[in-house]
């Protein structure tokens, strides 16, 4: 599992540029499903038949990034955000483009650091001229954070745990499930970070009876943290509410029941901000009961996101439990 996570998080695939991660995931799962599809927005859908109820699982392949909007006369790159990027966490960090090119964030001089905005920052790829920069990078290219995976034992750190860890959980579950009792549509979605876009269009096509998103959630277990109940190491988080969804009671009860019966460590989650693919799935067409299995994660949307492998294992087991339970909804 650590190896899978390490490989997934190493790939640079921001929203709208998911080619590389899609290719990797396709290779990983092609032998574990009955059918593999790619839709018009680039979502990867792995279908495994097993029963009447159609379940759409969704883990998003894309990560946040920086889109290059201008290359100046000295070869410095100006950028805008793709997904949620905070200007205060960038100075000195490194970025990487899909072609392997690496760069560093720099900032204009500001009198008041509180007034730092993205348009006062730039990316330096070490070019000595505009021409040199343009030979390597084009306007419209999107970079991601660049930070290697680190194994801390029970816990691991990498960039893009959001949501490569969700992808890892779904891939592992697909590999482990032996007796699916439902029709599984395992969707590796695109463009979640810019508005749940892949989930919205894929759900329209699939029309599931039940939707479950796999994503990270923030924790409140660090010094003087924002008050959040979720903690690393306390199990898979069953989301009750965030800004995009109130989990259907049926779904919350189903996940809770399965966690209890299978002795899977779990905790409940209410997130006063943010959203996931389930937010888009549950409002598709005439409505879909949906919920989220969250993996607790510290330092979300930073280059060093941290998860606990026990929580990850709990999430995998819970997903498999859903896959193997005859749901019977339509």
């Amino acid at each position: 599992m650590k190896k899978l996570i390490s490989k997934l998080t190493a790939i640079s695939s921001p929203s709208g540029r998911e080619e590389q991660i899609r290719a990797f995931i396709k290779e990983e799962i092609k032998n574990y499903c009955d059918e593999l599809r790619e839709d018009k927005l680039g979502n990867l859908i792995a279908i495994k038949h097993g029963g009447n109820t159609k379940i759409q699982f969704a883990a998003h392949m894309d990560e946040i990034g920086m889109i290059i909007t201008d290359i100046d006369e000295n070869g410095f790159l100006r950028f805008s955000n793709v997904g949620g990027i905070s200007p205060h966490r960038l100075y000195g960090q490194r970025v990487r483009f899909q072609n392997g090119m690496v760069g560093v964030f720099g900032a204009e001089k500001v009198e008041d650091i509180k007034k730092l905005t993205l348009n006062k920052l730039y990316i330096d790829i070490g070019a000595s001229s505009e021409e040199e920069a343009r030979s390597k990078i084009s306007v419209g290219d999107i970079a991601t954070f660049h930070h290697e995976f680190t194994d801390l034992g029970e816990r691991v750190v990498a960039k893009s745990m959001d949501d490569r860890i969700g992808c890892a959980v779904l891939i592992e579950a697909l590999k482990r499930v032996t007796n699916p009792q439902n029709d599984l549509y395992c969707t590796f979605t695109v463009q979640e970070e810019v508005g749940l876009r892949g989930a919205r269009t894929s759900a329209f096509g699939i029309e599931p009876d039940l939707g479950i998103a796999l994503d990270v959630t923030a924790t409140g277990d660090t010094p003087e943290a924002e008050r959040l109940a979720v903690k690393l190491g306390k199990g898979a988080a069953i989301k009750v509410k965030d800004l995009s969804i109130i989990t259907h009671s049926k779904v919350k009860d189903l996940l809770t029941e399965l966690a209890k019966t299978n002795s899977i460590p779990y905790q409940f989650e209410v997130l006063p901000f943010g959203g996931t693919d389930a937010g888009a799935i549950h409002l598709t067409k005439a409505g879909v009961p949906a919920g989220v299995i969250s993996i607790p994660c510290r330092y979300v949307h930073s280059p060093s996101e941290m998860v606990d492998l026990n929580d990850v294992e709990a999430a995998v087991r819970l997903v498999v439990a859903v896959m193997e339970k005859k749901i019977g909804w339509s």
Partner: protein, 341 residues
């Protein structure tokens, strides 16, 4: 002149009747069918029987403006903005209200009677009003009603060197581009959607896309040109005279790369100048279309305009003509090479 006539019509979001009627008159002979849907979008088809991918071209008919939300006892009209307008541009301007085009002015306290501190702060919307010269409420109610929409009263026409000025360039210029393209015929099914209520949430395009469900869509807009001092190069977004602007991303869409590459290729082959829209701010109808049903690849081609969403904007006629050329070349490339996606 087409652009002038279009700009002098009033069509604030949700009351696009005047522009809809004008366009309908001009296109009825040139297309197979013209219909209006429940939101007021004007939809036209050419070549519905052709084989080939279904293409949709969109431009919105509505403009930002004002709505009369109350009439006070003295006969002055209380207003609110419809769509995104910086309220600081409103002071001391002329407007035209409702289908009968009742003239009014947005009054301001004379400078002689103001304190110095007053002049340094913008006048906020609740303190602004429109004066139509009415004696009292009853007198005003003879001419205007609550809910009436008011547009800026500005003459459109040539300006400077190959420039054009007027109100509502966003998005009458897009409509004008479509009205030029509609003179041609292409050998795939082509849907023209002149949409409503873009400025209040991309409303018209959302339902038009559902009804048409094209294989690809191209949206024509008037976009912000910030090439005015002291803006630095990377803050300008687009510049007048540098050609149509191709979007790679905005708040509502990340444009498919293959689609952008085709536009660039076609522009280079035909020697048409173009630029990229550098800002990623603002949403467009392409986003609403892209998210429709199982997803529709969409792109945006814009004519740069200075001072959009204000009473007077400016564009370059060269950019306007090059936008038409680039669109035509792109559509021809679909005839020859099929879809880029």
């Amino acid at each position: 002149m087409l652009l002038r006539e279009l700009c002098e019509l009033n069509a604030v979001s949700s009351r696009e009747d005047a522009v809809r009627a004008y366009i309908r008159n001009r296109i009825t002979e040139k297309v197979e069918t013209v219909t209006t849907d429940k939101l007021g979008n004007l939809l036209a088809v050419q070549g519905s029987g052709n084989t080939g991918p279904k293409i949709m071209l969109t431009a919105h008919m509505d403009e930002v403006g004002l709505m009369v939300v109350g009439i006070d006892n003295s006969g002055l009209l209380k207003i609110k903005t419809v769509g995104g307008i910086d309220e600081r541009v409103l002071l001391s301007k002329r407007v035209v209200i409702g289908p009968n085009r009742i003239p009014g002015v947005i009054g301001a306290k004379p400078i002689h009677l103001q304190e110095k501190e007053e002049r340094e702060k913008p006048v906020k919307l609740p303190s602004l009003f429109v004066d139509i010269g009415a004696k009292d409420k009853a007198d005003a109610e003879k001419e205007v009603s609550i809910g009436d929409l008011a547009a800026f009263d500005v003459k459109a026409g040539g300006f400077g060197d190959r420039m054009f000025k007027g109100k509502a360039l966003d998005d009458r210029v897009g409509c004008a581009v479509l009205l030029n393209l509609i003179e041609n015929h292409y050998d795939f099914p082509l849907y023209y959607a002149f949409t409503v209520q873009e400025e209040v949430g991309l409303r018209g395009a959302t339902v038009a896309a559902f009804g048409i469900n094209p294989d690809l869509a191209l949206v024509f807009e008037g976009t912000s040109a910030g090439d005015v001092p002291p803006a630095k190069k990377h803050q300008q977004s687009t510049r007048l005279g540098k050609g149509p602007a191709i979007s790679f991303m905005d708040r509502s869409i990340i444009v498919n790369q293959a689609l952008i590459e085709r536009l660039v290729k076609v522009a280079n082959e035909a020697n048409i100048p173009f630029q990229f829209r550098q800002s990623t701010a603002g949403g467009t109808e392409a986003g609403a279309i892209n998210q429709s049903q199982t997803g529709i690849p969409a792109g945006v081609l814009s004519v740069p305009c200075r001072y959009i969403h204000s009473p007077v904007s400016i564009l370059s006629l060269d950019d306007f003509e090059n936008t038409i050329k680039l669109a035509d070349a792109f559509l021809k490339s679909i005839e020859r090479r099929g879809l880029p996606v």
